[in-house]
Symmetry: none
Subunit: 191 residues, 4 copies
């Protein structure tokens, strides 16, 4: 048989990487970091353990790649929510957040779990700190346009509030009144 071309190889590599990361996300987000073994990930991805180490030099590196991608995805979406009307932007952000919590709570779970493993995943700290500044800045500009006095303080409040709701929803799950909170916040901030 003829050897694979470099182009074919690149495509193969990309696909294998994709399969591994998808499997890892699925398992780690729903079972947790320690409860997910490399063997499980390889099996779920349909590849051998050896191949996995061909793409990621360690379990830690694999998880790192996962987190970076998750944050990236979040960014792209958030950018689409901003319109010219600040009230509209704020409403979009709130609605988007609650939909995320309803549909992809695992994203939150993954990030929250890894953040608590500060020593092992120091880089999460750095990313989170940067993101937080971005979100606070974005909200500050919106809230300032809406006439809030201490727009920075209010922006910090909202940022923390979102994560607080997120963690509560993770903690008490179906008992958390996501709908009521969504209504309350849109009323409070967007009327």
């Amino acid at each position: 048989m003829s050897p694979r071309t470099p182009i074919q190889n690149t495509a193969i590599r990309k696909e294998s990487r994709r399969k591994i990361m998808d499997a890892a996300f699925l398992l780690v987000a729903s079972n947790g970091y320690e409860a997910t073994s490399i063997a499980m990930i390889a099996k779920e991805a349909g590849v051998s353990k050896g191949l996995l180490y061909n793409y990621f030099s360690s379990k830690e590196e694999l998880i790192k790649a996962l987190v970076l991608e998750a944050f990236d995805g979040g960014d792209k979406i958030a950018n689409n929510l901003i319109s010219e009307d600040p009230r509209e932007s704020l409403r979009n952000l709130i609605i988007w957040f609650f939909n995320e919590m309803r549909e992809h709570p695992e994203h939150w779970r993954l990030i929250t779990e890894l953040t608590l493993k500060i020593e092992k995943f120091e880089f999460v700290h750095d990313i989170v700190a940067t993101k937080m500044v971005q979100y606070v800045t974005l909200l500050e500009s919106i809230l300032s346009k809406l006439g809030y006095d201490d727009a920075l303080g209010e922006a910090r409040l909202l940022t923390a509030l979102f994560d607080g709701i997120g963690i509560h929803a993770l903690m008490i799950r179906e008992d958390y009144p996501l709908d009521a909170m969504e209504r309350f916040l849109t009323n409070k901030y967007c009327n």
Copy 2:
């Protein structure tokens, strides 16, 4: 020679238990549950692994004792913060919370981590769910006296906000503007 008296034994047991729990809290709160091994705890406590099992029948039981103690301590203090003046009560609660975050962030970390391990530590989940209802109820009564329209919604907001600030402070640590937030919240709610 006669054997130790029951009183002597009780004292010895109390002290050993204390040493083990202190070591366990220190390590688990800063490294996390699975990153802390029984061997590490025993070494830190200066006792043998065997002795640890003389006091706690499993790693899980040890952590359980830790959490129950942490909650107990928190409760006793919170009760003293309520006065007749709702504005005063609210101020006390806010100040107490920020002091906790400054002085014992590990409490938050421990409880947050374990709460997310719902399968393994269901009792933490149950306690937290109960506490959350209590806090919301307490805040609702205070805010209602202060004349808030949707006191329940505001109470939920504040409860989530506290945990949001808590997790942000854990994530970005010294970079989090605890002082600014404290000032902002006391201004916003207590003037």
Copy 3:
């Protein structure tokens, strides 16, 4: 208080020893050697672990004492079964054996289990070998009086048969036809 007299001490020692051995027999016979810990024996006997080591220098020694006593007890009883009529003696032996199996199967279990741990309890081998010679000799004399040609061979057969029935009864317990076998043997040998 006045010190205990030597006589009192001897009595105390004897009683403590008795309690420990009874507890040990009860537990080891029903749970097995490895499944019975020193802690369990001490608790069942109502004494401390320390005291146990005051009387027996190791778990092995304690079990050794147990076995020696069990064999001794068996001997005393067997001697009372022999009468002048060989047919009567044989019948007594058979009936006694089946009653033992019905009422004290644990005796058999204990001896059988320990015998299989040859390396650890070598002395059991020696005792068993001696006893077997005694039993074979006794049976040989009875069977020879009853006119059996190869009385030695028949005596060996009967000795092995008893232990074979014993082990089968231990293996399949209530499913073993003890009554039918007893009838069969008394018919075959004592009519």
Copy 4:
């Protein structure tokens, strides 16, 4: 380099499994179940402890495999001993049994030990109970053809006798008169 072919892997796996089972049989049959640790087995087999768990999910499963194999081997042989002449069949069975006791007393030891651990190895108990019924039935049919009155009773007697001889031979080993017993039994039953 290309990965090993499935055929190569199968061969490798078969060999490793064999090494582990041989080592386990050797050690468990001569030292007993709990006196044989996984570490000892791995060392004797010349593999790592980890590899052992690649083939057997627990110590219990490993022992189970051992026992099943031992029974299987025994069955194949026993089937070849039955001929049309009942006297011949009986003689073959007796001779086969004594040869087994001479050559593979460890089989007996392994199975006897495990059978007594009913709680842990219920399947052994079940297999043994079934085998016992089979042997009794087979012997009953042979003895009935030979004209015995109570063929069932005699068959039970012989079955128990075999195991009795087995355990005596295990207990007193080289002191047991296997040859004399073999001669006695063939004379008694096959002339």
